[in-house]
């Protein structure tokens, strides 16, 4: 009597089961079929209802409306726009305005957040308490509340144009907005830009050279005086030779309003202020957590090697802290961008306000417009997180982690 070798079970069926049903196997497959059936039924119901509802309201679906004339004005545009332009143009205007407020908000929030974090970490008891109070107070008030507060209480309480608050008779703040000198292009602009570009390229080259020197010969160079000299000297020389690149048109009060200068609309001021102050309180906590996460011994070890405090911070502490800081910081940037949609509450012409607001109420194309709006924000989120994860990937590579 011999023992026959048993055949292995047929693998393809097992593999198919694993791929289709996961660990749950056949149960999983049945579950998925039910799930798909439920989704299909749900989808059918929605599509059928949308069809009948749209037919009852006499709305044709599709993106054809994008070519129609918008016929409304927008009070701040980065590209030329008039009421006779199409809705596509409105969409672009809205996206650009959203981007503008997001970028400026991100820059301001980062600077402010960093300052508050350092203040909270400072050994000075009073300063750290002031910073802590700021964080607690701002974080615990709704953003929309803060935006409306700046817009309806603070900026609305400003005096009219005739009684504007002025700084050195060039900047004016009143209830119509913030009026600043407007740069006007002069013939010297081109040489100035070229000089600036050359200076920047030279600085990058210098830094590269200095690094090489350090790594190859172990010889640390002090390059910042040269960098400063290049960055200031070259543009100044170009200005001396070719004349000023821009002149500033100073606003003048004429009658009831200002002539000349550029006006920054109050909606923008309120939105940027509130967004950056709000996000700064979150960024401050992110940065503080990151810096605290670096062990004290790292600083001490660096100091005991004879490095200066600044060098230890720059080369040892900050890179390690950044690794902890970057992912949540990315989240805060994304939040700021998404929160800029609250502009619709005060009428700053961002994407949601001009497109999902005005355009939708004019055309009634709810599905297409909300779809596009969501798509734009999704794309913005994905791009921002891609950029930030690229940066943290590079940082991680540099740290050898």
């Amino acid at each position: 009597m011999s023992i026959e070798a048993r055949l292995p079970p047929p693998q393809y069926a097992l593999r198919l089961k694993r791929v289709l049903g996961g660990k749950a196997g056949w149960n999983g497959i049945i579950l998925q079929i039910l799930f798909v059936a439920a989704l299909a039924w749900f989808g059918y119901e929605i599509v059928a209802n949308v069809r009948t509802n749209l037919a009852a309201q006499r709305i044709t679906s599709g993106f054809g409306f994008l070519n129609n004339t918008a016929g409304f004005d927008v009070n701040q545009t980065l590209i030329s726009y008039s009421g006779s332009d199409s809705y596509t143009r409105v969409l672009i205007v809205g996206i650009l305005n959203t981007l503008l407020v997001s970028v400026i908000g991100i820059v301001l929030a980062t600077i402010l957040g960093l300052m508050i974090a350092l203040g909270r970490l400072s050994p000075n008891g009073l300063l750290s308490r002031v910073a802590g109070t700021y964080v607690e107070l701002i974080r615990n008030l709704p953003l929309l509340f803060q935006i409306t507060f700046w817009y309806l209480a603070v900026l609305a309480a400003l005096p009219g144009p005739r009684q504007s608050i002025s700084v050195a008779s060039t900047f004016y703040l009143n209830n119509r907005g913030f009026i600043v000198p407007r740069p006007v292009e002069e013939p010297g602009l081109m040489p100035f830009l070229i000089a600036l570009g050359v200076a920047i390229v030279a600085c990058i080259g210098l830094r590269y050279y200095a690094r090489r020197e350090l790594f190859v010969r172990g010889h640390a160079m002090r390059i910042w005086p040269y960098v400063l000299g290049l960055l200031i000297g070259l543009p100044v020389m170009s200005m001396l030779v070719f004349g000023a690149p821009v002149v500033f048109e100073v606003p003048v009060l004429k009658g009831f309003n200002f002539a000349g200068g550029s006006r920054i609309i109050p909606e923008f001021v309120a939105l940027t202020l509130a967004l950056s102050m709000y996000t700064a309180s979150f960024i401050a906590e992110v940065v503080r957590g990151g810096i605290l996460s670096v062990h004290k011994g790292q600083m001490e070890a660096g100091l005991s090697l004879g490095l200066s405090r600044g060098t230890v911070l720059r080369l040892i502490v900050v890179p390690q802290a950044l690794r902890v800081i970057l992912p949540p910081l990315t989240n805060q940037y994304l939040n700021l961008t998404k929160n800029s949609s609250l502009a619709v509450a005060i009428g700053y012409p961002d994407l949601v306000s001009v497109f999902a607001g005005t355009t939708m109420s004019q055309t009634g194309q709810a599905i297409e417009i909300i779809g596009i709006t969501m798509g734009v924000y999704l794309a913005l989120s994905l791009i921002t997180s891609a950029i930030m994860s690229f940066y943290s990937w590079r940082l991680g590579k540099r740290l050898g982690a």
Binding site: E45, L141, A156, S341, L382
Partner: protein
């Protein structure tokens, strides 16, 4: 050689008194060690003091010193009438207090709102104090019974039927819809050659399923019609439902062994009967107050509480779905979470307000507040899912494996072993989500609901109270309310965190 005597080692004269050590505790110590110990610190101290001087002092002056406390209209809050620079205009808050709290809720019915608040606080406080017993019962009443009672208190209206009728109606809608879907498939397949045949067959199959289902539920519909024709539809239906559900629990739970559960189920139905009797739900209940009249703090609390309660199950389901091994379910959960998290809440609210009505059958109208609630629940559910997923990831594999080794099913492993630990891990994160949800409720004012912020904005437009400081007063008052809620929640989460981490302290 000299003798060394003891006197060489003993001092002959008293040592001088040393100065007392520098005090490092208390206020003086604080000033010495943290404020003035180096030139930089002195500078920073000065800077902070200036900051405080220019923010806190004017704020206090505005809110208390220069404030006007009594008055009938804007005249009292004008500088020329008050005789001094005017700060906060508190009479405006007194006049608008009811609007900020209730919106346009009819004055005679406001006791209902107050009663709801009282009930919630009475149930919530014991839930929040860790030492008190009967957490399960308390939580059950708070999360399941209270919302229903609150709905009938706040909105009003009564019942036409109970479990049996509802089940019958829902099932009949469902089978009708299956029938139409099947017929649509048949029609779609009629003109297409090869694939159409498949569609036709599938459609016929769906129609068949629908027909069989409608035959199966036909007795149920008959019972419903009989119930509706009787004198006391609600009570008979309730009794019927109670008998059926208790019987089901008895048989599914394993007969007499499940006596506790059976008694609990029966007790629940008795409780429901008492509520129905007290509130007169079988006699059309309280007068209906349309949600368009709701406003102020009421809407803020309703939206945030329902958002919080609804976001938990949605979040748990999505988090489990995201970790599921079944490909389609995992894919769907990931897509849903990422889609919702990638867009601003305001677009989700727009979606709920403008697109949701298009999705529903034409004859079905959905209330504006409910639409906003759907949006808020979906949005916070997606965020909650990520928080809970963090907790699920923190549970060691061994826990699930041990449960499998004991022979527990997936459902039992998840609900008795994995989820309780995971949720306990992420309580701080959950509370953080609650705080941001509470703050986000202010966004419903954009879709034309008058929550606290919306009511404030509306009250600012009133010319009777238009003074230079009205807006600041209003924002100061509402700001304090928002701050009190959010700050209270964050402090409570810290407390819970400390308590949960008690074992890690050493």
């Amino acid at each position: 050689m000299t003798d060394i005597t003891a006197s060489n080692f003993i001092r002959q004269d008293l040592a001088g008194e040393r100065p007392a050590p520098i005090k490092t505790t208390g206020f003086v110590g604080f000033v010495r060690t943290q404020l003035l110990n180096s030139p930089t610190n002195v500078l920073l101290t000065l800077l902070s003091a200036l900051l405080i001087w220019f923010t806190v002092i004017p704020a206090l002056q505005f809110l208390l010193v220069d404030a006007v406390w009594v008055g009938k209209d804007r005249e009292a809050c004008l500088a020329q009438n008050a005789g001094h620079p005017v700060g906060a205009c508190w009479p405006y808050i007194t006049a608008k207090f009811n609007q900020l709290m209730y919106g346009f809720y009819p004055e005679a019915e406001r006791w209902r709102v107050d009663l709801t608040y009282v009930l919630s606080v009475v149930l919530l406080v014991p839930l929040l104090i860790p030492r008190l017993p009967a957490k399960g019962l308390n939580a059950g009443i708070f999360f399941f019974a209270l919302p229903v009672v609150a709905f009938f208190l706040l909105y009003g209206g009564g019942l036409e039927g109970f479990g049996v009728s509802w089940t019958a109606s829902a099932l009949s809608v469902f089978t009708d819809s299956i029938d139409t879907a099947g017929n649509a498939l048949v029609r779609a397949g009629a003109n297409v050659p090869v694939v159409g045949m498949l569609f036709w067959l599938l459609g016929k199959l769906v129609v068949l399923i629908g027909t069989v289902a409608s035959l199966v539920i036909w007795p149920l519909l008959w019972i419903r019609d009989q119930l509706q024709a009787s004198h006391q539809p609600v009570w008979i239906d309730l009794a019927l439902t109670a008998i059926v559900v208790t019987g089901l629990v008895f048989f599914l739970g394993g007969g007499a062994r499940a006596l506790r559960t059976v008694v609990g189920t029966a007790a629940t139905f008795v409780g429901i009967a008492i509520v129905i009797a007290i509130m007169g739900l079988d006699r059309h209940g309280l007068a209906i107050v349309d949600t368009r009249l709701w406003g102020g703090m009421l809407v803020t609390l309703v939206v945030s509480v329902i958002g919080i309660v609804a976001s938990m199950p949605i979040g748990i389901a999505l988090a489990l779905g995201r970790r599921s091994t079944i490909p389609l379910i995992r894919f769907f959960s990931i897509a849903f979470i990422e889609l919702v998290r990638g867009v601003p809440l305001i677009t989700v609210l727009f979606f709920a307000t403008y697109m949701l009505p298009l999705f529903l059958p034409g004859n079905m109208r959905i209330d504006g507040l409910v639409r906003a609630l759907v949006g808020v629940a979906l949005f916070s559910g997606a965020y909650m899912a990520e928080v809970i997923r963090g907790g699920l990831q923190a549970i060691p594999r061994g826990q699930g494996e041990a449960a499998s080794a004991l022979g527990l099913s997936w459902w039992k492993t998840t609900s008795f072993i994995v989820l309780p630990q995971a949720l306990r891990h992420v309580i701080p994160g959950i509370v953080n989500s609650f705080i941001s949800l509470f703050k986000d409720t202010s966004l419903v004012s954009i879709v034309a609901l008058f929550d606290l912020l919306g009511s404030l904005k509306a009250s600012l437009a009133d010319p009777v109270w238009a003074t230079p400081t009205t807006a600041f007063t209003g924002f100061a008052f509402t700001g304090m309310i928002y701050f009190a809620f959010c700050f209270g929640m964050s402090r409570y989460s810290l407390l819970v965190e400390r308590r949960l981490n008690a074992h890690r302290r050493n």
